[in-house]
């Protein structure tokens, strides 16, 4: 069963367009949504959760459409099985965890206090603490504890590793893996660090300036790009338009190309990139070559 299905999703703002996005996430898998700042990751999550109105497309969670006429937010039948955080916002941060939990559990008839208490103990979280007193990692863990107490089938986390030290980040990602195998839920998280998805995710959705560049398994992701290096005489128009992050010097050019466009690379050196190299090439400003006719002008 697909926990999440996104079909032709798009949303336009002034100066920014998200999509169209098509992807599916099977039950029990972990998806990382990667992109630099402004790539549209949070907008994508908001569109998933029906908190912004998409211009086109359909989102299905647990095989049920998330849009009910014009009502905003997830329909309650879906919402009670989805736990999420958005944009690094910690609502009611000045309140004690006990107050927030007591309020939250009133909305969930299937709230499992035993599960909640066991995860709180495992995470070492004190209910008397105020939310803003927790570290960023502990704030995420609190969201996880409340989501697990509700037996959520899908947990959506916006940039959960932001502000974490390397070791904290790795521990958090390991925890995600543990959760989805132990609790049989699915998890979607956004990050601007591509290594985060290599550490734990099954699927990677790469967003660049609102466009879904790739959606594939993490293993296939690094195989779906090739690093290309060559002399300028081999830089054909087809190759140039297919290259990402192209850099041109007097001696030649470098760039990255999708594996499906490998046919354009005749005469060039190609090699499989490391995961972090993909992000560097996808995100770096392009330095296009000046053609003879441009120089003449």
């Amino acid at each position: 069963m697909n926990i999440l299905e996104v079909v032709n999703l798009s949303k336009r703002y002034e100066g920014f367009r998200l999509g169209e996005i098509n992807l599916t996430l099977p039950q029990g898998y972990l998806m990382g949504v990667v992109g630099s700042r402004g790539a549209g990751k949070t907008t994508f999550l908001k569109a998933l959760l029906n908190l912004v109105r998409p211009d086109t497309g359909v989102v299905r969670i647990f095989e049920q459409e998330t849009r009910e006429q014009s009502v905003q937010g997830l329909p309650p039948t879906i919402g009670e099985k989805v736990g999420f955080t958005l944009g690094g916002v910690a609502p009611y941060a000045s309140r004690r965890l006990s107050q927030i939990t007591a309020t939250t559990q009133g909305f969930y008839p299937k709230w499992d206090e035993g599960v909640y208490q066991s995860w709180m103990a495992r995470f070492g979280l004190d209910e008397k603490a105020k939310l803003h007193q927790l570290s960023p990692a502990d704030q995420v863990k609190y969201v996880l504890a409340t989501s697990l107490a509700r037996h959520c089938g899908l947990i959506v986390l916006d940039d959960p590793t932001r502000g974490l030290e390397k070791d904290e980040s790795t521990a958090m990602l390991d925890l995600f893996r543990e959760l989805i195998s132990a609790e049989k839920c699915s998890l979607v998280f956004t990050t601007s660090q591509i290594m985060d998805v290599e550490t734990c995710a099954d699927y990677v959705a790469y967003l660049r300036r609102g466009e879904l560049i790739a959606y594939t398994s993490v293993d296939e992701f690094s195989r779906s790009f090739l690093l290309v290096k060559g002399r300028l005489r081999f830089l054909t128009d087809e190759l140039e338009s297919a290259l990402h992050g192209i850099r041109v010097t007097e001696k030649g050019f470098t760039g990255m190309i999708k594996t499906k466009d490998e046919a354009f690379t005749t005469g060039c050196q190609i090699k499989e990139p490391r995961l972090e190299q993909i992000m560097v090439f996808l995100e770096r400003p392009e330095s296009r070559p000046r053609r003879a006719h441009e120089e003449a002008e």
Binding site: R53, Q72, G73, G79, E80, P91, R95, Q99, T103
Partner: protein, 214 residues
């Protein structure tokens, strides 16, 4: 809805919120323009909506399995409950006031049943302006709060001044329970207007919040 109302009282309001009721003590001074004392309830509403912004209330609500419509209605009912509590405390203090001072209020209308009927009309006016405007653009609070308070105050001050000044309406200005029939009539009329306008305002707020995007 019960859980949403519990959230309003548990998270949105703190024990400090009870301080909002302090200005009602103004009802115990000998003479004053008492509609102003009853209007301090709008400061309570202001504190609630400003706390919303500070506490990211909309973002919190978005995580709950409740429709935005139910959430807007819960907030509207909270404000109505706050106003009614303010009214009941004000009425209790006006009874104390009746036994405290042997003469009436020369500065404005006396705090009798008709006065509280007009207070209900003042609250209804505020709700009609504030609730739909607030939920058309949540977190933009100046116009809904400022506009709602100003127009409601004009209505409240205008009607109470008319009662205090016009001899034809003097039977509504008894300092106690004299002319109870006309006073009860104004109070009942105020209650009907309050229920009707608050209901209209709540429904419009619920429609407006459906257009909200986080």
């Amino acid at each position: 809805m019960k859980a949403l109302l519990a959230k309003e009282f548990r998270l949105t309001m703190s024990p400090w919120f009870l301080l909002v009721f302090l200005p009602l003590g103004l009802l115990l001074i000998p003479m004053w323009v008492f509609p102003l004392a009853m209007a301090y309830v709008f400061v309570g509403v202001m504190i609630v909506v400003w706390r919303d912004r500070k506490d990211h209330d909309l973002e919190f609500l978005a995580t709950l399995p409740m429709s935005f419509v139910a959430q807007a209605k819960a907030r509207a009912w909270t404000i109505v409950l706050l106003e009614l509590t303010y009214l009941v405390v004000g009425m209790a203090l006006s009874v104390v006031r009746f036994f405290l001072y042997p003469v009436g209020n020369y500065a404005s209308m006396n705090t009798n049943l008709a006065f509280f009927g007009i207070t209900l009309i003042m609250y209804a006016t505020f709700n009609l302006i504030f609730l739909p405007a607030y939920y058309s653009r949540p977190y933009r609070t100046w116009w809904p709060l400022g506009g709602g308070t100003l127009i409601a105050l004009l209505v409240g001050l205008g009607l109470t001044t008319l009662v205090a000044v016009l001899p034809e309406l003097s039977l509504l200005n008894d300092r106690g329970f004299g002319n109870l029939g006309p006073q009860l009539g104004v109070f009942a009329g105020g209650a009907v207007i309050f229920i009707l306008l608050s209901w209209l305002a709540t429904n419009q707020a619920a429609k407006n919040i459906q257009k909200t995007q986080l």
